[in-house]
């Protein structure tokens, strides 16, 4: 009696177990289907053509400069000119550089006492001189030409600082076109008293014949004009600020008489 009361009928037990199994399968399928809708991978996007994967523009350097934007020696040479000053009692040579298409800058002492002035470009072409102008307040002169000069540099906005690099482009000893590199040592009073104000002192080597050479910074901009050689292999420059201020004053430069009064 107790055993009968203690057990359920056999048929009832089997039905209960089947219902539980069906519920479990249903639960798993529903759960799997429901969960599967959330985790099933989507279909892949269309694969693009290989050509569309290549960028249109080339990469640039980190500082934004194009890879070929370097200043090399070749680009500095065309701005230089060689000056032959045929005087009444001798011949001398000097250097100069183009300020614009038909104007070049040099030293006054390079072009004074002249009977004829002969200009040659870096590649040996002769350029006719139209007019020679000079100033009394600095060792600077302008030469107007009748034909275009090959290239001209920009003037720097400011004078260089001590320690800045400098490159001098000219014709030392009247010889081959030469680039001489050095650094700016500072400013000093003009030992020759040929310039008003301070002048620049550098350790770039120059020689007689270098007078009038352009002194350039790392951006190939003019920072000064060589006018003398100092002791210890140093050189003296008229600073670009002096050149710039004199160029701004149209009356500063006046025609220069030759040795024969012409």
């Amino acid at each position: 009696m107790n055993r009968h009361h203690g057990r359920a009928p056999r048929g009832s037990l089997r039905r209960t177990r089947t219902s539980v199994a069906h519920a479990a399968v249903a639960l798993v399928l529903v759960a799997g289907t429901t969960a599967g809708c959330g985790v099933l991978p989507p279909l892949p996007d269309p694969v693009p053509a290989p050509s569309s994967l290549v960028p249109d523009e080339a990469a640039t350097l980190l500082d934004g400069e194009p890879a070929d934007a370097t200043v090399d020696d070749t680009s500095l040479r065309p701005m230089a000119v060689r000056i032959r000053n045929v005087q009444c009692d001798g011949v001398s040579t000097g250097s100069g550089f183009a300020l614009d298409a038909r104007t070049l800058v040099t030293n006054r002492h390079v072009v004074e006492s002249s009977r004829s002035l002969e200009i040659a470009t870096y590649d040996g072409q002769d350029i006719e001189v139209e007019e020679i102008l000079a100033t009394d307040v600095a060792d600077l002169a302008l030469v107007r030409t009748t034909a275009d000069l090959p290239a001209h540099p920009e003037l720097a906005d400011d004078d260089p600082e001590q320690g800045d690099d400098v490159t001098v482009v000219g014709y030392p000893e009247g010889g081959r076109l030469t680039l001489s590199r050095g650094t700016v040592l500072g400013t000093t009073d003009d030992p020759l008293y040929s310039n008003l104000g301070q002048v620049l002192l550098t350790d770039a080597e120059v020689e007689p014949g270098s007078s009038g050479s352009a002194a350039l910074d790392d951006d190939a901009e003019v920072i000064g004009v060589v006018y003398a050689k100092a002791d210890g292999g140093r050189s003296l420059l008229v600073p670009v600020s002096t050149l710039d201020s004199l160029l701004d004053d149209a009356g500063t430069f006046a025609p220069l008489d030759g040795c024969d009064g012409g």
Partner: protein, 159 residues
């Protein structure tokens, strides 16, 4: 109920089969693209290498040409300097020759004047003494000028 669930399961299985197939195809296409681009990169790398070599050659040639241009420009400039000095020397020689000719002419006129004066003095009584004296003074001046010119010419030649 079980039938619906079975249909859902079959649908999910079909979707998974389709997805797997599509991803396999996509993967294959990406791999194909990667290989194509890889080949292109290899080709471009080879071209870059060849171009870099060409560039290096061109730079070498440019340097050589620049050096030659410098040399030729310098040779021309030196010849021009020599020509200018020669022209000045020739000009100087020409001016010296002209000066020498002028001095010689002056000295000739001095000699002629002195010869004429001697001629006059041989027959002095036939001439007005004042005019004779003035002629002698003129000859002296002429000869003095000729001597001074000769002295200056000699100094210039010595200098």
């Amino acid at each position: 109920m079980l039938g619906i669930l079975l249909a859902l399961a079959l649908g999910a299985a079909a979707y998974l089969w389709l997805t797997t197939t599509r991803w396999q195809e996509s993967s294959s296409e990406w791999e194909s693209n990667a290989r194509e681009l890889g080949d292109e990169v290899a080709s471009l790398t080879a071209e870059l290498g060849a171009t870099a070599a060409d560039l290096e050659t061109a730079k070498t040639q440019l340097d050589a040409a620049q050096t030659r241009i410098d040399e030729l420009a310098n040779e021309k400039a030196q010849l021009g300097d020599d020509q200018a000095v020669s022209d000045q020397y020739l000009d100087y020689q020409q001016r010296v020759s002209e000066a020498a000719g002028t001095v010689a002419l002056s000295l000739d006129r001095c000699i002629d004047g002195q010869a004429q004066l001697i001629e006059y003095l041989r027959d002095a009584d036939s001439y007005d003494p004042d005019e004779l004296s003035r002629f002698a003074s003129d000859v002296d001046d002429l000869c003095s000028s000729a001597k001074d010119a000769n002295t200056r010419l000699q100094s210039a030649l010595d200098g």
